[in-house]
């Protein structure tokens, strides 16, 4: 079952210029680039676990190391992240 975060609460989206209004997969961001989470979809258990870590719509994510297994930084924490085949994290790229 696909679950999508779709909350009207985006008050924390104040993070610089959004370069592109078309969301891209977080794996497509370059090293050092950041993006604003547009949606987190997929396996409900994985999505819920990631959301509990603070990864939700409007969160600014900085890419430290890119790739299928990446290192991202958001909200004062650094995570090693490899998304499952049934999970997608889309972001609006920033400058």
């Amino acid at each position: 079952m696909i679950q999508q975060i779709d909350s009207p609460r985006t008050a924390h989206m104040d993070c610089g210029t959004i370069v592109n209004r078309t969301p891209v997969n977080v794996a497509d961001l370059q090293r050092g680039q950041s993006g604003i989470v547009a949606s987190l979809q997929g396996n409900p258990q994985d999505v819920a676990s990631l959301a509990e870590l603070g990864l939700r719509r409007g969160t600014v994510v900085h890419v430290i190391r890119r790739g299928s297994t990446s290192i991202i930084k958001f909200n004062s924490q650094r995570l090693c992240l490899r998304l499952g085949s049934d999970v997608s994290l889309l972001v609006f790229p920033q400058n």
Partner: protein, 766 residues
């Protein structure tokens, strides 16, 4: 009771005596002092929770287990003035949402209102990462139990330019907040005073992180929960929230069947209301809680320094997570881990074997040769020795892994290895247990605890025994030395012996990759799972934590696996000892006489080594006969038809059966079977000669050939001949099913592979 009446009852209960423990006629202070204060310690991983636990309890702690799950936690004791305190260290968690049977344990423990409920919940937070840490606190506050917050790592927050207003945080949360520095032990006196003051004080105000429409739904659900329980429960709001957002269905079964039936319809209706308001479950819980946190964060966290200067962790990470340099460092670390466990632990293990031999000679001096002597020497001492001989390796591996984890490096190594491991359905962190298994599968399997995903942890545990461990080396060494030609290549730098040895290691690795791939698509089906691991700030390892984890690992092995290992060793001893024959048959007596004549004819200045060897062979003749007609020997002869296609006879079959407790026993067993005595090893020239000269019974045809040697090595490379490994597997998986499954699949795999190797190679090299 209607809802307003319920609320009034809960409020009165919280203010006076929330748990109904005290008798109003007793003096409060004396009554409280008599009872142990139970405190649950909870927090995110990497917040310094274990450091605080060890600081408070010291050596006064033990590990508690729960049946049918692998969950375990530490319980420690300390005193505050005259009050005895029991501190329960729950595993680090980001949320109280249970997503597995293991995660239900802390959930139930916090709710427990039996004879010994938890009195206070002590939450440890990372001062540099309050927003994520407060998610858990937000859930804990709904329990309406006494809570104390300990904000740790404030020095890290300061380095990041943050200032945390603890008083303001306390006002926002409605519970006491204390700043501590667990690694230095500062703030602990204030923490203890606060705990004593808080023992009967729930939060000063209700915690309401949800919008009005969700609040209404939760109010109604709380009412239903209280109706089901038959009395007001201060934690009803917490239970209601867990029920509402519990998409995995772990919480509802905690209620009685009758209550479930009552709640099910109410729950469906409640979820419908939320869904109809354009909100989806269960991610909305995170959304609402984080919004509540974000709305208030700036009131107690002040960012003083907005500069973007890289921290020391970030600077180190540039190199340690670099695709090239980071990988090199990780490989060096792995080589060090592997070599340390293999080489440094070996002298310690050798020491234990020496103690075994010393004890054995003591028994020989006190008890004459016979069943009792053999039981003590070959059963008990060998059995206990078989347990203790692994202890140095286990302790050392856990010591090293604890250091790597405590410093924060293990997470980085997991990141670097992940892209390789992901191809076979595992994650980067699985590499350490698998690598350790090259030394010994026992600590390797135990260290699989670091893998957070259950499916991946199980696959790692099930393939770890395929890594060629040090116990297989005696078989490889003797077979290669005697039966593989010593050809040399590349101007003598490369030898066939070394290549065959390497091939034996690769056999295990290649088969493990295949088995992992199959398991991922069958028993542990599922797409590539999400792998998330926090990269904590680098810090110096805390010695108390490291030593604690080292002893935890060692004790768990001795306590749980040790008993099984000793029991099986004694059983195999009995099978190899009984039944016994009082007299040797004529042909065996003739062999003894022939050998005795040879010894008698030796000149007086004969080599002592030669003399000892012949003496050993003389004693070995009776041992070989007794083994032949023991239960073990008979079993070997019974399975002979099965092992002939592998090129083996009953003697090799018996050795394989006898090696079930421990693989390395196969060499000593072959020594007995081929009349060299049991005091031989893979270097013994007598044993090597005996194997080279051995023939099939009743013929001159050589028993051991290159194809037979290859099939024996391949069998031992893939078989599960190690009761210690299976015992540890049972302990780590919480079930006998997995060790039985592993024994079966590895035995079948080993048999088929040995069969193929022999049948293919025999026409060429037989």
């Amino acid at each position: 009771m209607n809802k307003p009446q319920q609320d009034a009852a809960i409020s009165a209960a919280e203010q006076s005596d929330p748990f109904g423990k005290t008798d109003p006629n007793d003096s409060p202070s004396s009554n409280l002092a008599e009872e142990t204060l139970r405190i649950a310690l909870i927090g995110n991983p990497n917040t310094g929770k274990s450091t605080l636990f060890n600081r408070l309890t010291g050596v006064h702690q033990h590990t508690a287990n729960y049946p049918r799950v692998t969950f375990e936690h530490h319980i420690g004791y300390f005193s505050i003035d005259q009050q005895k305190v029991e501190l329960i260290d729950l595993p680090g968690t980001y949320s109280l949402t249970p997503r597995s049977p293991d995660e239900l344990i802390p959930f139930e423990l916090l709710l427990e209102q039996s004879q010994h409920p938890v009195d206070i919940i002590l939450c440890v937070l990372d001062g540099n990462n309050l927003d994520r840490n407060l998610f858990l606190v937000s859930q804990v506050l709904e329990l309406r139990r006494p809570v104390v917050i300990a904000v740790n790592m404030l020095d890290v927050a300061t380095r990041h330019g943050k200032e945390v207003d603890l008083d303001q945080l306390s006002q926002v949360l409605g519970v006491p907040v204390v700043g501590i520095q667990a690694n230095r032990g500062s703030g602990l006196d204030r923490l203890k005073e606060t705990l004593m003051r808080t023992r009967q004080s729930p939060p000063t105000h209700a915690h309401q992180p949800f919008p009005a429409e969700v609040d209404q739904v939760l109010d109604q659900l709380s009412y239903e929960v209280n109706q089901c329980k038959g009395q007001p429960d201060p934690s009803s709001r917490f239970l209601a929230a867990r029920l509402l957002f519990d998409a995995d269905g772990f919480v509802l079964p905690l209620f009685s069947a009758e209550a479930q039936a009552q709640l099910r319809d109410e729950l469906t209706a409640a979820r419908q209301k939320i869904v109809s308001s354009d909100l989806s479950l269960p991610q909305q819980e995170s959304e609402f809680r984080y919004q509540w946190i974000q709305d208030r964060l700036s009131s107690f966290v002040h960012q003083k320094d907005h500069s973007d200067q890289a921290t020391s962790t970030e600077r180190l990470d540039y190199w340690l997570t670099h695709p090239l340099w980071g990988l090199l460092v990780a490989l060096v670390v792995m080589v060090i881990v592997f070599q340390s466990v293999f080489m440094i632990a070996e002298p310690a293990s050798a020491g234990i074997e020496m103690i075994q031999a010393w004890l054995g000679s003591g028994v020989d001096a006190l008890i004459p040769e016979g069943a009792l002597n053999s039981l003590i020497n070959d059963g008990l001492i060998a059995g206990v020795g078989a347990v203790l001989v692994f202890l140095p390796q286990i302790l050392l591996l856990f010591f090293i892994l604890a250091i790597l984890e405590d410093t924060g490096y293990l997470a980085r190594a997991a990141y670097l290895m992940d892209r390789f491991m992901a191809r076979i359905g595992l994650s980067g962190i699985a590499l350490f247990p698998l690598l350790s298994s090259f030394a010994c599968a026992i600590p390797g399997i135990m260290s699989a605890r670091v893998i957070p995903d259950r499916r991946e942890r199980m696959i790692t545990i099930l393939v770890a025994p395929l890594m060629s461990c040090s116990a297989r080396l005696p078989v490889y060494i003797i077979m290669i030395a005697v039966f593989v030609p010593d050809y040399r290549y590349l101007w003598g730098w490369l030898g066939l012996h070394g290549l065959v040895m390497m091939a034996m290691y690769l056999v295990g690795v290649v088969v493990a990759v295949g088995v992992a791939w199959i398991l991922k698509r069958t028993l542990f089906k599922g797409g590539a799972s999400t792998f998330v691991i926090e990269l904590p700030t680098y810090k110096m390892p805390n010695l108390a934590n490291v030593v604690q984890r080292m002893f935890d690992g060692g004790w768990a092995f001795v306590r749980d696996a040790g008993t099984i290992i000793v029991a099986v060793t004694i059983l195999v001893w009995a099978a190899s000892y009984y039944p016994r024959s009082a007299d040797l048959p004529a042909e065996w007596l003739a062999q003894q006489e022939e050998l005795q004549a040879m010894i008698d004819q030796l000149p007086e200045d004969a080599d002592e080594e030669t003399m000892e060897e012949l003496q050993q062979q003389l004693e070995g003749i009776e041992s070989a006969y007794q083994l032949r007609q023991s239960f073990l020997g008979r079993a070997g002869r019974a399975i002979e038809p099965l092992v002939i296609p592998l090129g083996w006879d009953w003697r090799i079959g018996s050795a394989a059966i006898a090696s079930f407790p421990a693989r390395e026993v196969v060499v000593a067993t072959m020594g007995v079977i081929f009349a060299q005595g049991d005091d031989v090893d893979e270097e013994s020239p007598g044993l090597r000669q005996a194997l080279a000269n051995a023939t099939w019974e009743g013929s001159d045809r050589k028993l051991f050939t290159l194809p037979v040697a290859l099939s024996l090595m391949v069998f031992f490379a893939l078989c599960a001949q190690c009761v210690s490994t299976l015992a540890v597997m049972k302990r780590e998986t919480g079930s006998w099913w997995w060790p039985v499954f592993t024994f079966c699949y590895m035995t079948i795999l080993a048999y088929v592979a040995a069969l193929v190797v022999f049948q293919v190679s025999n026409p060429w090299w037989g």
